[in-house]
Symmetry: C2
Subunit: 221 residues, 2 copies
């Protein structure tokens, strides 16, 4: 019997990546809300789980881990998504077999999301929305690069025209798509209109209709 | 027979991650220098290899890939390192078996490097060294966060005291360590003294003596 995975999360694009994929995979999970606006992810008990002090974190009790958590403790959305795909998508509905070319192209675009799309759009959010000081240099720098990154995604989709430009890699949605979804949804925070990227707009709309995506986007309640 | 891997690179921390690991694994490879200061990574022929227009990229002719490159084309340092470890370190000298807890902890810290250490230190480099305008807000923001991230690495090493705090994960160097090495070396560009992190200082010194690390740090010639 598979025991429920515990998800420590909050209602951010990075949190939603994981709840979305758990829902899509129809995995049992319990949610512990970690209110980052109250500094809860920087508390000792949480830093013990993730030295970097950020949500999301999963604890999977189905794997015997070290320490007193009694399970595999994992942070970093890219690592969590890869772990969930490898472990719980054995039929490869949303992944490719380990070792295949598509497996590594999925990883390439997943890492593009976590190492450029997320960090740069996150900095744009900071300078445009959250910074207490108005810093035009920062606003311009990160808005420009955020748009460039979506130009790259449009290009990636255009290269997959054999599959109707519907997926980032091959003929199915993968963690590369699910990781990008909630950040793309966050473009409205920056007043960036997604319609300037026609393939990406269609991709976003279609992905929003995949069972589990809406449910995962509402976690934690 | 294993054919040489082709590495498109330039002398940056991200480029060195790959040449270091290729040297450590003693893999045959050829180097094509892509001068990013002359915009070569934004040229059409290169963007065809990597839609994101950044070095490094590898082409592995031992895997039959799509397109006219005749091999697996891969970018994003995190994906390249994972691919090389999975494919060419079958004896697990510098990796853990696929599916093990240590495999995913390695991925967690690798992704911490590519999604926080690299991007944030890269922004610090921009504001401190390269920006034509002096922007105190940016300088302060990214220097502060860069130091915080190395505090996290010091914490990670301290948690591995069973192994003498010598490795990020378990009892051997992995791609999580090799990915961090060249960025740690780049701290001097920011006038940040590594000696404030005693475990990290020892880790850096020891890693610099691993056969291949010095050689890989000089690529391209």
């Amino acid at each position: 019997m598979t025991l429920p995975i515990k998800l420590y999360t909050f209602g951010t694009p990075n949190g939603h990546k994981i709840s979305i994929f758990l829902e899509v995979l129809k995995l049992a999970y319990t949610v512990e809300k970690v209110d980052i606006t109250k500094g809860e992810s920087k508390k000792d008990w949480f830093v013990k789980l993730n030295p970097n002090g950020r949500i999301p974190v999963i604890v999977d009790p189905n794997v015997k881990g070290e320490g007193d958590n009694g399970g595999l403790v994992l942070s970093q959305t890219g690592a969590i998504l890869q772990y969930l795909a490898d472990t719980y998508d054995k039929e490869h509905k949303y992944s490719y077999p380990f070792g295949s070319i598509e497996y590594y192209k999925t990883l390439e675009y997943l890492i593009f999301q976590v190492s450029e799309n997320g960090p740069i759009q996150g900095q744009a959010n900071h300078f445009v929305v959250f910074a207490k000081e108005k810093v035009p240099y920062g606003i311009n720098r990160y808005l420009t690069d955020t748009k460039r990154i979506y130009d790259v995604y449009e290009d990636i989709l255009s290269r997959n025209k054999n599959n109707g430009s519907k997926y980032l890699v091959g003929d199915r949605y993968t963690i590369a798509d699910f990781a990008l979804y909630s950040w793309t949804g966050g473009l409205k925070l920056l007043d960036i209109n997604i319609s300037q990227w026609p393939l990406l707009s269609k991709w976003y709309q279609a992905l929003s209709e995949v069972p589990g995506v809406q449910e995962g986007s509402k976690v934690p309640a």
